[in-house]
Structure formats: structure tokens, C-alpha cells
Symmetry: C2
């Protein structure tokens, strides 16, 4: 029996939207799907037991954080991340490259989403052919992450889907740098691929490692010719299971949409396509039309911890701390079937945030996770029924 | 059909331990029982939905905190605390007296448990016959709490079991002050009782108020003649449903045990007896033998938030942050049936605390709540089987 497979189930007649199924040894992911960030092997205020109840299909953890604390070997000895954090479903890990870049240069979100930002907390010391040298944010010690090292750690972590090691090129660099960085990331991708295949043959020492499948990453910044070159590399020079769209997506939403609309359709339907670091519902509605199968972002859980609940419609968000909710006996959304909306009022949630009760973080996180899973379910259904545009209109009406 | 009742089910042949049932409009409490503190209408990192799953019978909230934020009227308009926090089971509120005292004079735990402590955060401005004047910890505004005011707020909150308004006498005052304070608290108890009965006749304006039953409080500090006088007052001059043992319980555990052993048996079996603010498992095993039916304390949930898990045995506690748990693949207690012990290892819990992930607080809170409910269940069973001493030995072996 196949442990991994990918198939497109239904394609839109109007655009590149599609539904599909990613089979992994830990279960099936119905796409388009959202991947929640359990950065340090937890969804912050939320347990994996609760995440499953909220229809979560897949979560991801970050190699960068886990290599520093508690370390890949400890997790391997524990039988891998699945057992460590008690998550029996599909899981993805990134390669660590993105964090080295984002923690090294400044803010993650500012960079990937193209907002200019002063360089701060510069922990990235050097990038060369071997890999990236950086300082641990925990103790300042020097760490080298290379393609081989990243794959070894990801083998220890044991997620079903893993990523090639790359440099996530900042948006403010010029085309020459973007080009040479892309070419190096391609060489790193080949080393990542070879490293995984070597490891598969010699399993000892990789405690958790069942079979794992690799995602390549399309680089090239905002330059169409570079994106084309990277797409060709990923499709024809590599033999990865999935392909992610990474690197800089420009300095505005429009540029980001443009890059994805240009790149994703060219990737065809032989691989599931992941878009790295994007999770705004507006963006998701927009970008599934280009053929994106999976998304990930910290925003649903991070917003929750700041008291922001996701809602349908143009506004898209409620700030629970707003004084107008102090006496509001209704739930966040009276049509929402999540445990928070079925059990607790806005007035109560407002009270929890105003009085600093931790439960507030948990309850809004629960709602936002349920919300995102429900959003993806609606999107899948509407693609199946070939009425995505109507569903989108209804969502925002 | 009766909405409230109390009956002793089984009495020990060897001491004053007993099992019983407190019937309330929101269900039955099997005693001896532990009451968890949802101070500001939440169990901090834990939801009422989860508390119910962990076999919680009854929770309490604090009038002092809720009168300041979000206010009794808002909660009454919400249909009462039960609906506000989505707790369908029995509930108790205190009168606010204890917090005025403890926040007014210094630390709660230091005072009630008799540890001497520098006076700090003095927010208690004055006590006279009318009531207690204090400064709000939120905005420094002046607030008066009187028996009538306390009962009015407790009516708004709508808990099943409510407390008379009292002064919780500090342990460092002399007998003369303890005596005059006790006599004033008795006068306040009568005013509380009258206020409740007036309110019951005129229900309008008390949004949440179904029927509620009052607990008197035995005062008298460490002085046996004063305790006797207060016991006589509570048994013969008042007509309350339950009786709590309050006031100063001395400056050591030995004094505390002595006060309870002296007082509780004299209270007989016509009322459920509550011991205010005590929740250490050692103390509970000891004091059920004097006939205490219910206990409350913030400790199980507060310890959890500091990374301390409750366990059986003499030691009684595990500090999850201890480095020796970093690689420990076993749960807190391999025989524990709680969700945390069934799903997560010490190594994972240790990782959550070391890396500052909020989920750690939730998971240890879950264990500690389950643990306390299990402890009380074992105590009840052993009283029913008249082998409390043997069960206690097994617990600590």
C-alpha cells in the first residue's frame, strides 16, 4: 500500500483552483488546506487534542526553534514529533532556512510580506556555500545550519512532509543577489534531496524516522525570468513530492498576488503546491484560484493571543477588547459551531481579556482554528461544486 | 421537589469523617468535595467545559474581584455567573470579606495560614459597623462593602451557595480585637441573612437570582471560648443552610488542625461544613477526619501555573521545570487517567515550561484538577468503606 500519494480530485473550469488529496503515513489531507504553526511543538495556548476536535488536518513545527530547544535528538529518542506532542495526523517541518533569514535580518512578517523594516536583532552571521552560520537566540552560541544538517534534524523530528534547506531572500536585495542566492538554494536543494535519500538507506540514529517526503522551494523573488528558471529546476531537475513557493513575494499584496499567479499555474498538477507563510483569508480566497493547495501562517493563533477573533465578511476581524463587546451577550458569530461560540459570549471573552485571564487566549485560539478549518472546507466544497466565485461573494457579503 | 438539601450518608466509626450529599438547583455535590477557585469567573488557563470533563463538582468565584470587574449587574444581565462562564454545576461565591482583609493587610496565604508577613498594599481603609471601606485595586476608587451590598452582589452573581459578609480577622491581633471583630461579624451575619431573605421576597432587579442558600462563618481565631461562642451563634441564633469555618486559623499547621478539630465536630451533622482556604492534600486527609465536608483553595491551579504537578505520596509535588524531567518519556503519573497523563510526557511538559509555551499551564492545571477530584473520590470511597486510615496510608506510601 502506498504511504504517500497526491492526486487532484476536481479542477475549476474558470481558473486554476483545484481540490486534491495528499496521502501521508499519518492520514489524508484534503486540499486546499491550512497548516497551523506549532512553532516550538505546541500551538501556544492550545493542545493537539483540541486541535483535532476543531477539524485540524495538519500542523507544522519549525526546525530552527526545535534544533535549539529541546534538540532534534531528544525528540528522536521520544519517537519523533508526532509522539512528543501527541499529534497523530499529518505534519510538516520547515528546513530552518526561513527563520535564520527572518530572525537574522529582522521581522518575519515584514520581510515575507514586503514591508520595509529596520534591520534589528541581527543573528545571521554569514551565508556561504556550506550553509548559514547564526547565533542561537537562546544562549548566543554559534550554530551552522546546512542542507545536510537541516535534513538530519528533520529526520529526527520525523514529520511526514519536510522542506529543502534554502535561503529566503529578502525583498530589498537586487536581482543579481536574488539570482545568485536562488542558484545556491538550488544547489542546497540537491544536497537536501541527496541527504534525505542517503538517510533513508541508513536509518539507524534517526529515532523517529518513518518515511518522509520532500518539498522543493521555488525561488526567484519578484523576477519572472528567475521564477521561471526555479520552476523549471523544481519540475525537471529535482524529484520532490511537493513544491513550495518561497522567497520574497515582493513589497505589496499586489506583487505577492502577481508572483503567485505567475508561478503556481506553471507548476502543473503533478505536485501539491504549498505557499509559505500566507494565511489571511482574503489572500487564501484569492490564491486558491492560482492553484495553491496548502497555506501556512502564524496569524490565526497569533491574532487570537492578541484578542482578535476571525469572522466572515469584509471586515474579517473582531477586536474582543473593544469596549462595545463588554455587554454583548451574543457569541463571536452566532452561526459558528465552534466550542467557544457555542459556550461563551463576547461579554465573557471581553471580560477574560480585560482581566488578564489566560483562558481568553485559549478560547479565541479555538475559534480561529475552527474558523480557518471551516473556511478551507467551504472553499473545497465550492471548488467541488465549481462555484468558488459565488462562495467567495457570499463569504464577503 | 426540594431544590436544596443536605444529608450525611455515611459516618466513620473511628472519627468524625463522613460522606454526604449537598443538593442544589444545579446538581448534587458528593462530599467530602473540593471547590476550585474561578476567582474572576475563570479557572485561569482552564475552561469550564474542561473542568466538567475532569469530574469537577463545584467551583467558586470571588465577589470582591467580580464586583470591581465586570460588576455584578453586568453578570446579572447575562443571566448570572452560571451562564456568564458556562458552568452548569453547583457554584459558591464568597462574600468579599476575605479579599478585603487579605488584599488590605498583605498576602492571603500568609495570613490565613499564619505566616507572619510585612504589611503591604494596604488597600483596606476602614472597618466600622456599617461595613468595610477599601480602595479598588483596579483604579484606586473608594468602595464600601457591607453585608447588604455583599448579598446584593451575590444575588446578582447567582451562585447556589453564598456566604455571610465577615471580617476575616488577622492572626496577629489580640483576643480583645478578635472578640469584638467576631461579635461584629455575627451582627453582619444577621444583616446578611435578613438581606438575603428580603431579596428573596423581592426578586426584581436581581437578574440571575434563582434560589440561593447561605453559609454562616464560625469566627473566634485560635481562642476556644470564642470559637465555642461563634459555633453557638451559628447553630442556634442563625438559620443558615451551611456553616464555614473561617477567621484566623493560627500561625502554624498544628494550630490550624487544632482549631478545626475543636470546632468542626461541635457543628454536628445538620449543616454541610466548609473549611475556607485550605487545599493541601495532607491537610485534606487530616481534616476530613474532623468532619469537614468541603474545602477550597487556589493552590491546585496556582501551583500548576508555576509548573508544579500534584502527585500521590509523601512528596506530593513534581517541579516540571526540574532538569531531570527533560528527557523523561513517562507521564506525570503512569497510573493517572487524566488527559495530560494519557497524552503527554514529562519531557514534553518540561519543554513547554522551558520554552514558555502557554499550553504547559493548561496541561498541568488539567492534571491538578483531575488529581484533586480523584483524591476526593478516593476519600469518599474510603469513608463509605470505613477504611479511611488505610486509604491514607496507601496514598502516602
Amino acid at each position: 500500500m502506498k504511504k504517500f500519494s497526491w492526486n487532484v480530485k476536481k479542477s475549476s473550469t474558470k481558473n486554476n483552483a483545484r481540490t486534491g488529496e495528499i496521502l501521508t503515513p499519518h492520514g489524508k489531507i484534503h486540499t486546499p488546506a491550512f497548516i497551523f504553526c506549532a512553532t516550538k511543538a505546541s500551538l501556544k495556548s492550545f493542545s493537539t487534542v483540541e486541535a483535532k476536535k476543531n477539524n485540524t488536518q495538519i500542523i507544522l513545527s519549525n526546525t530552527y526553534h526545535l534544533m535549539l530547544q529541546p534538540g532534534g535528538e531528544l525528540i528522536a529518542n521520544h519517537g519523533g514529533l508526532h509522539k512528543f506532542m501527541n499529534w497523530e495526523g499529518p505534519m510538516l517541518t520547515d528546513s530552518g532556512g526561513f527563520q535564520i533569514f527572518s530572525l537574522g535580518h529582522g521581522s518575519v512578517a515584514d520581510e515575507i510580506k514586503g514591508r520595509s523594516n529596520a534591520i534589528k536583532n541581527k543573528s545571521l552571521l554569514n551565508i556561504n556555500e556550506e550553509g548559514s552560520l547564526f547565533k542561537s537566540y537562546l544562549d548566543g552560541s554559534f550554530k551552522l545550519l546546512s542542507p545536510e544538517k537541516s535534513i538530519q534534524i528533520q529526520r529526527n523530528l520525523g514529520a511526514d512532509l519536510i522542506l529543502v534547506f534554502d535561503e529566503c531572500t529578502p525583498f530589498h536585495v537586487d536581482k543579481t543577489y536574488t539570482n545568485s542566492s536562488m542558484k545556491r538554494s538550488h544547489r542546497w536543494a540537491i544536497r537536501s534531496f541527496n541527504s534525505l535519500n542517503t538517510n533513508i538507506k541508513f536509518k539507524s540514529g534517526f529515532g523517529s524516522a518513518g518515511e518522509q517526503k520532500l518539498y522543493g522551494i521555488v525561488q526567484g523573488g519578484i523576477y519572472e525570468d528567475l521564477r521561471e528558471e526555479s520552476i523549471d529546476f523544481n519540475l525537471n531537475k529535482m524529484d520532490t513530492f511537493g513544491i513550495a513557493i518561497g522567497g520574497s513575494l515582493g513589497s505589496s499584496k499586489e506583487e505577492m498576488y502577481k508572483v503567485v499567479k505567475f508561478s503556481a499555474p506553471k507548476l502543473g498538477n503533478k505536485h501539491p503546491i504549498h505557499l509559505l507563510g500566507i494565511g489571511d483569508p482574503n489572500d487564501i480566497w484569492n490564491l486558491v484560484k492560482s492553484g495553491i493547495d496548502t497555506f501556512d501562517c502564524v496569524s490565526p493563533t497569533r491574532l487570537a493571543r492578541h484578542g482578535t477573533a476571525l469572522i466572515k465578511g469584509k471586515k474579517g476581524k473582531l477586536n474582543i477588547k473593544n469596549v462595545r463587546f463588554g455587554k454583548d451577550l451574543s457569541p463571536i458569530d452566532k452561526n459558528c459551531q465552534c466550542s467557544t461560540c457555542r459556550n461563551y459570549s463576547l461579554a465573557y471573552l471581553h471580560h477574560l481579556f480585560k482581566s488578564g485571564e489566560l483562558l481568553g487566549l485559549n478560547l479565541i485560539t479555538s475559534h480561529n482554528i475552527f474558523f480557518m478549518n471551516n473556511l478551507m472546507s467551504i472553499i473545497r466544497d465550492s471548488i467541488e461544486n465549481d462555484n468558488l466565485e459565488r462562495a467567495e461573494k457570499e463569504w464577503f457579503s
